[in-house]
């Protein structure tokens, strides 16, 4: 198994835990981002993003999106007392992000953790870009920084 396979397995396992905390067994792109942040990423840290700030940004995106439908949460979302069981599965947004990340590497064995993060950041619409925008993150600058990381490695 290559280094990136080990990293990917580790990130997917962490992302599955993030999904379960969210009450689902479906891993989405934002769960991958949380997993990468938990593992540690120089580019995310430089942009002032860690697991806590990303979780806060995602929660803000959620309440903002609900508000667009006229739904205002007073207080926290009810948490199930039991986490979901069953095998984790990749949702569409996570699958697309991984494909985008792999596509930025010339060959799969050239793929690094930065390529995976780049795949998530290249997502043009959806939860992740909305959350980052709402948090005031310069996505273009962050994406450029991560892209530089991908080329620094080779």
């Amino acid at each position: 198994m290559s280094t990136v396979d080990h990293y990917l397995n580790h990130i997917l396992t962490t992302a599955a835990d993030e999904a379960r905390t969210d009450g689902t067994t479906t891993i989405e792109a934002h769960h991958l981002l949380l997993a990468i942040a938990r593992d540690g990423s120089p580019a995310l840290t430089a942009a002032g993003l860690d697991h806590t700030t990303i979780r806060t940004a995602l929660d803000h995106e959620f309440t903002t999106s609900l508000a667009a439908a006229g739904v205002h949460l007073a207080g926290a979302l009810p948490l199930p007392t039991t986490p979901p069981t069953g095998s984790p599965q990749l949702g569409t947004t996570a699958r697309t992000a991984l494909e985008r990340g792999l596509a930025t590497a010339r060959r799969k064995r050239d793929c690094t953790p930065a390529h995976l993060l780049l795949g998530i950041l290249l997502t043009p619409v959806g939860t992740v870009p909305r959350a980052l925008d709402l948090a005031g993150i310069d996505r273009t600058a962050l994406t450029d920084a991560v892209r530089r990381e991908t080329t620094d490695d080779h």
Binding site: A68, G70, V71, H72, A74, L77, P80, T81, T82
Partner: protein, 77 residues
């Protein structure tokens, strides 16, 4: 939670709202079904209340509730 329907909004916001509402509905369903089963509702009653089949609600929730140690009434109950 209060609900008011805005007259309009950006389409990106309205699309995102749909995803958020689905997530909210799933979370509300998880907690409500668990509470119902803990307080003695049967699968057919929960299914009918949700407007879905018994099989659907059982498949979606049984494994999680059994793992949580909830005493479940028989499916035919």
């Amino acid at each position: 939670m209060s609900v008011e329907i805005p007259a309009s909004g950006e389409v990106a916001d309205r699309l995102a709202a749909i995803g958020a509402l689905r997530h909210l509905a799933d979370r509300l369903e998880d907690t409500a079904v668990e509470e119902a089963m803990r307080t003695g509702w049967s699968w057919p009653q929960v299914a009918e209340a949700l407007g879905v089949t018994r099989q659907a609600v059982y498949k979606k929730h049984a494994q999680r509730l059994i793992a949580a140690g909830v005493t479940l009434r028989r499916r035919s109950g």
